[in-house]
């Protein structure tokens, strides 16, 4: 076993474990913490693949900004321990079926191809910052700008909704 492979398995275990813990934890803050573990482990995996920029942005945006907001809101509402109710019937049977189907599909894909699995655990130069920025700001500049416009609209919408109504 080479060092990158060991690191890959450690990070992968962390990510999967964090994701499971996210679902099974009773307290919202613990779930949020598990999600942070998943984010950081994913960033580690990106770093292992040589995508330094993506790894850093993953932590800054997801691990930092978004999850801080989650934690902030949970703290602000002072949400307590959740009571787990019975599973809904709809989620029970078809959900399990779908989960098995998805797992089977992924397993089959992994079993068929040999390169991709290897690639995930091997260091390489996937995307340099320069390539990435060329792609975003040159090749896909219109979709990119459209997305930012969409986010702007969402922000404006949130502000309008959150505004106190002016008294007549």
């Amino acid at each position: 076993m080479t060092a990158p492979l060991i690191i890959f398995f450690v990070l992968a275990t962390l990510a999967v474990g964090g994701a499971l813990s996210l679902i099974f934890q009773k307290h919202p803050i613990h779930s949020a913490l598990s999600l942070i573990v998943v984010m950081v482990a994913l960033a580690g995996l990106y770093l292992l693949m040589g995508a330094e920029f993506v790894a850093a942005v993953q932590i800054i945006v997801y691990g930092g900004a978004i999850m801080v907001l989650f934690v902030f809101v949970i703290m602000l509402l002072n949400a307590g321990i959740e009571e787990h109710t019975n599973f809904s019937k709809l989620a029970g049977f078809p959900g399990l079926l779908l989960a098995f189907a998805l797992t089977g599909f992924i397993a089959a894909t992994i079993a068929r191809s040999t390169d991709t699995v290897q690639a995930a655990s091997q260091p390489g130069n996937m995307a340099s910052t320069r390539d990435l920025s060329t792609m975003i700001f040159k090749d896909f500049v219109y979709p990119f700008e459209l997305t930012s416009f969409l986010i702007l609209v969402a922000v404006l919408g949130a502000i309008v909704l959150a505004q106190r109504e002016a008294k007549p």
Partner: protein
């Protein structure tokens, strides 16, 4: 044995470097508390610590021992896991961020176990330097926020809430204010950012001149990120007892303390590197006499400490202070005798001097500025700092488009 050492040379050297850096940073931290208390005391016309050791020099050691031996009660109703995790997260992240900082341009002149040794944990060709730092800072808020939440008490909760809101707001300005520097240097690599500031005229090549606005925004936002006066709302003692660490005692409290001081050091390093030329000398390269500045600084300092020690009241001081002075004088003389060593320490000397200046500014601000009101803090972050740093990015981009990068 030897073969094993050579085969794992890289790993062993990194571990040794980490241990050494941790030792240095923690010692500097301890004496930073002494320095802060002394400077603030003198600003307020007091003496500051002067009972434990000569000039209170052993005070940090006494404080450390006190932290270790104090009772460490866990309040009732805390979320135990998170309560213990929070100080760990705060300290670990603060210490990790120091690993990114390069402390000098040249590797050590000799190789150890066949490896080239650079000053700093990471080799100088790591491309995401500054981004990695921001990533670590971005996670740093969890230490404070979780400590506030898990304590199961009102004041810490308010402190934690304030700190998360504050950090989200100021992180934007912090990141945006650096973009100007990145545009000029064209790299995320801290070593390259410093080398890009090289100029024939020394100080005139530094980023502080084209990026003055950026520096103001950066320093303000960074002070807010480190929860220091005048932005220390999360621990405002007049309103919140002690804010997020009210319920922490003993060494868990010390961990928050060390984390705060370590992030002060990191921010000072960053200010020096991004805007003040890092390890570059402020004088033109042709002025070779500036190479004797470290000597010229160490020798009078050493002589003064000896003189002061001989006149000190206690016997202990009469021994320790002249001892320190003698070491400083010997160092100064050694630098004159060995020009190779003198040349080598020039870069770290300048970097450390700049870091020291920024640490002094931190303490200075603590001694002079009043705390902001919370709504003022938020309004300042969003309505002032953020637009200014965005304007800085826009202006810098246009200037680079119009006239090209300055060099």
């Amino acid at each position: 044995m030897n073969a094993f050492l050579y085969a794992n040379a890289w790993l062993i050297i990194t571990v040794v470097k980490v241990a050494l850096l941790l030792f240095i940073v923690l010692t500097v931290n301890a004496y930073l508390t002494w320095f802060e208390r002394k400077v603030v005391a003198h600003i307020q016309s007091r003496w500051g610590p002067h009972r434990v050791g000569p000039h209170g020099l052993l005070q940090p050691m006494a404080d450390g021992l006190k932290f270790l031996f104090k009772e460490d009660p866990t309040p009732a109703g805390v979320d135990r896991f998170v309560y213990f995790l929070a100080p760990l997260v705060a300290l670990a992240l603060a210490l990790t961020s120091i690993a990114i900082i390069p402390f000098g341009p040249d590797p050590l002149p000799w190789k150890i176990l066949g490896q080239t040794i650079y000053l700093g944990i990471l080799p100088p060709n790591v491309n995401i330097g500054i981004l990695a730092l921001f990533a670590i800072t971005a996670l740093g808020v969890y230490g404070v926020a979780l400590a506030g939440w898990s304590s199961n008490s009102k004041y810490p909760l308010l402190g934690g809430l304030r700190s998360s809101a504050q950090m989200i707001s100021y992180e934007l300005a912090l990141t945006l204010s650096v973009v100007g520097v990145l545009l000029i240097a064209g790299s995320f690599n801290l070593t390259e950012i410093i080398n890009d500031q090289t100029s024939r005229y020394g100080i005139l090549g530094w980023n502080i001149f084209p990026q003055f606005l950026g520096f103001l925004c950066f320093f303000t936002a960074a002070v807010a990120e480190t929860n220091r006066v005048p932005f220390d709302l999360p621990e405002a003692e007049s309103e919140l007892v002690a804010g997020f660490h009210t319920e922490y005692a003993s060494f868990k409290f010390a961990m928050f303390f060390i984390a705060e001081y370590t992030s002060m050091i990191t921010v000072s390093c960053l200010c020096a590197i991004l805007f003040f030329g890092g390890w570059l000398s402020p004088f033109p390269a042709s002025w070779t006499w500036t190479y004797y500045l470290p000597t010229a600084l160490l020798l009078p300092a050493g002589l003064w400490v000896i003189w002061d020690g001989l006149h000190y009241e206690t016997i202990f001081g009469k021994v320790i202070l002249p001892g320190i002075g003698a070491v400083l004088c010997i160092l100064a003389i050694a630098l004159v005798i060995f020009p190779g060593v003198n040349n080598y320490i020039q870069a770290p000397f300048w970097l450390l001097s700049k870091i020291f200046v920024f640490l002094f500014v931190y303490v200075w601000m603590r001694g002079t500025l009043p705390r902001l009101r919370y709504d003022q803090l938020m309004a300042f972050g969003w309505k002032m700092l953020l637009p200014v740093s965005i304007a800085n990015v826009v202006i810098t981009s246009f200037a680079i488009l119009r006239w090209g990068a300055i060099k």
